[in-house]
Symmetry: C2
Subunit: 104 residues, 2 copies
């Protein structure tokens, strides 16, 4: 491990959705905008085929906890369980090491 | 945190690909088959739009290291850098907590 690597956190959100997801796109967009404004937010990656994967990155467990409890996000979570998701899984992870490749 | 939660590891692989990815699908399928046969392999999630995200789960850092160095996988990695990926990022993470929702 590089000496200067500062560990941070990743939240891996995997999900499957119902057929009818009216209102989901608007909410997802709204939540992305809101997450970016949170203290400790570092970034996000997202892709969806049969399963959806959203990974968000945070500088501390406290930042993750605060985002989970943010009031508009709480409402979105409730709607998600009620209308949009047939299943989801949330993993809170500590990023211990990282490396990158960039084609020259 | 639940007392009985046994931590494990996740490798978050995010990537962007070149336009011409001849041979990639076959290799990806082969690598998935091979990964499943590795000691310590626990599972995998994968989705791709603009960015590809593959998260694989492992029971130890040693299992991750062994998979990274597996000979056919090494060849696949080299081909990946040479032909298929314009960029990728690998994050080695410790899963510290997890929860799930299943629609009744």
């Amino acid at each position: 491990m590089k000496e200067d690597f500062k560990s941070y956190y990743a939240v891996i959100f995997t999900s499957t959705q119902n057929k009818n997801i009216d209102g989901y796109s608007e909410m997802a967009e709204k939540m992305e905008t809101l997450a970016k404004q949170q203290k400790g937010y570092l970034g996000m990656d997202s892709a969806k085929n049969d399963v959806g994967i959203t990974v968000s990155y945070w500088d501390s467990l406290e930042a993750i906890k605060n985002w989970k409890q943010q009031s508009e996000h709480l409402q979105a979570q409730q709607k998600g369980r009620q209308y949009w998701y047939s299943w989801y899984n949330v993993r809170i992870c500590k990023v211990e090491r990282e490396y990158e490749f960039l084609k020259k």
